[in-house]
Amino acid sequence: MSPRAAKALEPSQTPADLIRNFCIIAHIDHGKSTLADRMLQLTGIVSDREMRAQYLDRMDIERERGITIKSQAVRLPWELEGQAYALNMIDTPGHVDFTYEVSRSLAACEGAVLLVDAAQGIEAQTLANLYLALENDLEIIPVLNKIDLPAAQPEKFAEELANLIGGDPDDCLRVSGKTGAGVAELMDLIVKRVPAPTGDSDAPARAMIFDSVYDSYRGVVTYVRMIDGSLKPRENIQMMSTRAVHELLEIGVISPEPVATKGLGVGEVGYLITGVKDVRQSKVGDTVTTKSKPASAPLKGYAEPKPMVFSGIYPIDGSDYPDLREALDKLRLSDASLVYEPETSAALGFGFRCGFLGLLHLEIITERLEREFGLALIATSPSVVYYVRKDDGTELVVTNPSEYPDGKIAEVEEPMVKATILAPKDYVGTIMELCQTKRGTMMDMQYLGEDRVQIRYRLPLAEIVFDFFDQLKSKTQGYASLDYEDDGFNVGDLVRVDLLLQGERVDAFSAIVHKDKAYAHGVRIAGKLRELIPRQQFEVPIQAAVGARVIARETIRAIRKDVLAKCYGGDITRKRKLLEKQKEGKKRMKMVGRVEVPQEAFIAALSSDDSKAAKK
């Protein structure tokens, strides 16, 4: 058991062999942020009084949803057998949408704590991240978390972990991020097992950018891992990809608030501030060197993430369009993976077609736009990218279903993914059935332990972005976990289904679906819209159509009566307050022609209710 380090090592003066760089990889909800909280407390860099849950998660959304979106690097002092060490903990996101962020965080480490919930066992995301860690040659420390839970089965899952990564089940450390049990032992183990960084301190400086965030007061804050040489304040640094030169205004470490230092030496992890205002000028994966003594070759970078899911984002009130543009520009400063371009919809007016890494990324961005910028928005149903070749040989890239050409199509290619699903064996049948209905092809299946199975399927991405995950969860009582990765393109037999309100096509409701599913899709959406759109002063016919052929029809009857019968005395105040609410409600309605369509209709109409039926 080690005490808090009596005297912390000074950054820039710390020998590489006293540094340990590690990350924690875990499935979402397996308690990574809570464990990180305990480490901060145990090492004394956050006092018990200042401690708040999920200290490192900076954004409100991160804390509320309990997920980490942006990685962070914190320097922790620790002492083992009388020797002080500096540990850099690099936090990683735990959601499938952010896999690329995980991989770049891993590149800054020599070791990884593989954290597994002792009540849940290994999940698909754990496997994906473990795979990435192994690819990066990291030392893996298996740890079971939440051993305080009554449902914890540490023996069972230690066995599972040992099967997976080799070694003795007893070597698997058991901790509780909640109570703090075992956390000090884990710190000791990190010092003992994680290799010290190696690098040439006399070589020209090379620092790997593993994250870049925008701070409204300080501009872009760039997180780096020094590989060779050192960097000092006031030096002129150079980005190796662009050759751009900036003056290093500040350099420091996070502990857990930023602390300026006299520099960063080999193996250290910290931040740089140069005064640039756009994260794209400080690109993740780039190599930082000095202008006076530049390195000859950059470090191996990362593949840039490509947007997988597209959605049109529109202000409900058209006059908010400039505000939306400004908000997106601001968000892009801190999120290089967000891409967007202006788009016009006949139904929704001016907006932007935005590309996201996945559905969660989409949700987070729209939520941030609404919350941080006070905008009321409509996000159209998510779509993927299609490569369309027409009969006349012209090719086009479609990211918006309403741009999908009518007829005369030679071939359409749609993106595919390789999905890995982990679940108890009892659910194999259900999962296979679901994957079949989602146009999947099974790749393989293998048992991980006695009762857990890993199933791999090749599926169209479009089926995944729809509501695959929700259905998977509900059909397996929440036991199944999912991870997926890009797997090229396939030719598909696809058609565009349009929705018409009062005979007018509403482009925002158009969807590209498989030919065999067009009818079911049309019937379902028309039915959903009938429920979601309130009765208006006039009758509203709803039709679903493929080309000129109507495949489904519903009618919203005109409103007959909405008046409150009694309006005396105290009713008047109540009625006025109700009116205030109605006014707010109206602001969340979009006029499509003469029809008031609630914001929810745009997304909710596209989620299937099969998942609800399955719960019953």
């Binding site: 002063q537 409103i559 009566k561 019968a565 309006c567 105290g570 008047i572 006025r576 109605q582 006014k583």
Partner: protein, 366 residues
Amino acid sequence: MHVPFCEVRCGYCDFNTYTAKELGGVSQSTFHEHLIGEVAFSKRVVGKMPELSSVFIGGGTPSLFSAKQIEAVLESLGENFGLALDCEVTLEANPESTTPEYLTEIAKVGITRLSMGVQSFDSQVLQTLDRQHEPERVAPLIAAAKELGMLTSIDLIYGTPGETLDSWSKTLDEALALGTDHVSAYSLIVEPGTKLARQIASGEIGQTSEDVNAEMYEHATKSFETAGLGWYEVSNWGKPSVHNSAYWKSQNWWGYGPGAHSHIDGNRFWNHKHPTTYQKALSDGAPAAGIERLTDRQILEEKLLLMLRTTWGVERELFSRLKVPSELVAQEISEGNLELIATDRIRVSRKGRLIVDGLVAKFLSL
């Protein structure tokens, strides 16, 4: 004046009323003394006022008050403010706690108008509503009131679960046969927290659809108008009640008793709800639990909200003062939901009456 007692609580009612058991230490027989206390308080607050044009004793079940108690409160109002010569003095009564003898007594102490909670003449409907009376009791009581020279009104409820258009039609016929000066017909509102709401939530009782409700309303409108009872507000027909009209015209009114609301010169305030808390607050100085001062904009919005419910409508100019685009108003006129009267007023059409809340929300949401 709010009399917060009932013999039993009806299943659909969410009014501020209490049975003897729920009242705690509050005595029904001396409750009027508190109301009189508040009359004195109101006099100190408002100072000199024109004589009162209407007194309305509602509830709860005001017919649980004795004629003596009613006499005492009316006397205190007379002493403090004075009652105008043609002052409308209404008492709400329910058939089961009223007798012809009682009516004679209250007429003597100054009640000029009787408003009877009839609700329905269908005993099945009355049972669903938890109403205790037998429908046959109503006609003799109304006849007696008329005999005594009182104005008469009845309240009806439509859209009760299980009520058919046919049953409603029979209720309307019996109601009109009474020959009252005034009728109020309310669609049943299922208030959250009531027994009825629970019964509907559990599926024990079905709910009447918006369309059936609308048909019942239209049927009632036709019957009343044929019988010569003209429409003057969403739920009211016949000789307009001075009292009701005061609410919609945003005149000054003081509500006495637990939970009662008041409106004096753009201030809306309300009393503590429970009789015990009310009594205590009153004896400590002031019965009010809250107050709001309306802004100029709110005053105009309320005016639209309230007056558009009535046959009097609003002056055309109100829309421009509220910055409602004239095209929007014109569109509703062209669709027949609003109508222009005498070039300077606008009111809801027969068709627009039922959707007036939506119209107001639309006008004020821009």
